[in-house]
Symmetry: D2
Subunit: 159 residues, 4 copies
């Protein structure tokens, strides 16, 4: 009924842009989000690594402007999908389907640390089922990149 997520973190690697057979752009990346505490007596602050999926125009903007290490804000919804793996076991995948992404560091920043948080608007890319593997209940793992376009029919895209 209501499902809203807001994250600020850094990309663990460059985003990956792919296209569905129907030609719809999908970009995925992982955000490292530091936890608000240090646990277990360890000095090092831990992070959660959260998978983000964007669709369509927003996917292409993210692929163009985001890079590994960039500080980024993401707004979206949690999606849980599942698929049966090659051993016939059901696997659950949780992702954040982003509909708003804010670039908190501009292109010449992050890497060489020369800029301070300019901002490229990437809003309004629409939601998406986030599954690049088929129907929504039982799917292939979209994260296995086999080089082929991901197999998803237009019917699976919720927009």
């Amino acid at each position: 009924m209501l499902n809203r997520v807001i994250l600020i973190g850094r990309l663990t690697r460059d985003p990956e842009l792919r296209y569905t057979p129907a030609g719809v752009a999908v970009t995925q990346f992982t955000l490292a989000v530091d936890r608000p505490f240090t646990s277990g007596g360890s000095k090092e602050r831990e992070a959660d690594f959260i998978n983000i999926v964007t669709w369509r125009q927003l996917a292409e903007t993210c692929a163009n402007y985001l890079r590994k290490g960039r500080l980024t804000a993401v707004e979206g919804r949690i999606q849980v999908r599942n698929y049966d793996n090659n051993e016939g076991k059901r696997v659950y995948v949780t992702e954040v389907i982003a509909d708003n992404v804010r670039f908190l560091e501009s292109s010449n920043s992050a890497g060489n640390r020369e800029d301070g948080g300019s901002n490229a608007n990437a809003s309004y890319g629409g939601g998406g089922s986030g599954n690049r593997g088929g129907g929504s209940r039982e799917q292939q793992d979209p994260f296995i990149d086999d080089g082929k376009p991901i197999d998803i029919s237009d019917d699976d895209l919720p927009f």
Copy 2:
């Protein structure tokens, strides 16, 4: 750096309360959250099933007052933990660690539909690592309920 989730949905079953060896209360339940669209030509609206973890005082309040089917609002943060399963394969688990839970239907509601959204405050239970299986990086699956108290040391609790 910032990690905030707000959900409204219904419990798929009664919450489960357990205790760590150190005596810390942990309650878990799953929220069914309807998606904002119908996909794939199917008429039936789909839902995401999202695992929620609460700790301490909030855990006990949830165990006392929440029941299967109840409409509930949850505020918290996304946490991703992993553990190696019995085949030595790394499994990733994503949960929402709740720090605020709102009961949108009171006790005599939901089941027999007699009330209108009264509200029991369950705020401020503190966060938690959400792992009931050991250290934070490599853990046992906390969702396997073996009847034994979950093995987590006090050091793993971030509060």
Copy 3:
């Protein structure tokens, strides 16, 4: 750059639907949101009275289904506008422009307390610059409703 609000509270009165001269529907209501604490030694829990504005299709759905007292979830953005009052003094008005409203109590609920949180979807009404005031406790209405259509040109509508 990012502006997100999520509220759960009860309507202080029935929503008011009006139309701009260009025929765009605008609905306004006030949400009473209990504070998470009791202050000043007083036993009574205080509330914040927050003005909500909805536009277009969402405005009409809200006008049709929301009523005084209903428990409601609102998602939107904070907007601050200003105008000069009749004494030539600048007045600031803060509102939440909602783009998603969830009815947490169905029609036969709330008033007579007979139901438990059924849910009418009212998502996707778009944002808007909005106006008029609110109906909270001892609040004077900065935009007195004089029966005339509200004066806002199409240029003021951000969509």
Copy 4:
């Protein structure tokens, strides 16, 4: 019942730190948050100027590290308070009481644009009823800073 705000914007001026008669630190600042659209045919993107209030430890951290122009993320709740002005008219003030502030640009950034989004943690300052006004565009300050400590009794502090 639930009241959550997340904002990303830039400070319109340096934050102002003051103390209640009881010695509690309060810091206020205004965040300029760009709207997600351009309205009225105007090319210039508009912004909302939103007053932020922080208390206690968080207030002091904000006063120490935030400066005019800095890109900042704020998490908190909307609070509406009112007072009678010198003409005996009731005035309503809406503020965001922050409980989490993230510095998205480090000290040597923003002004001279040399850094990229380092991050000083300022979490956990608690809520508060707050007061004073803001520093937005043409805004008169409802709580003129007369150099005297602000008059708020301990009873008004909700913690």
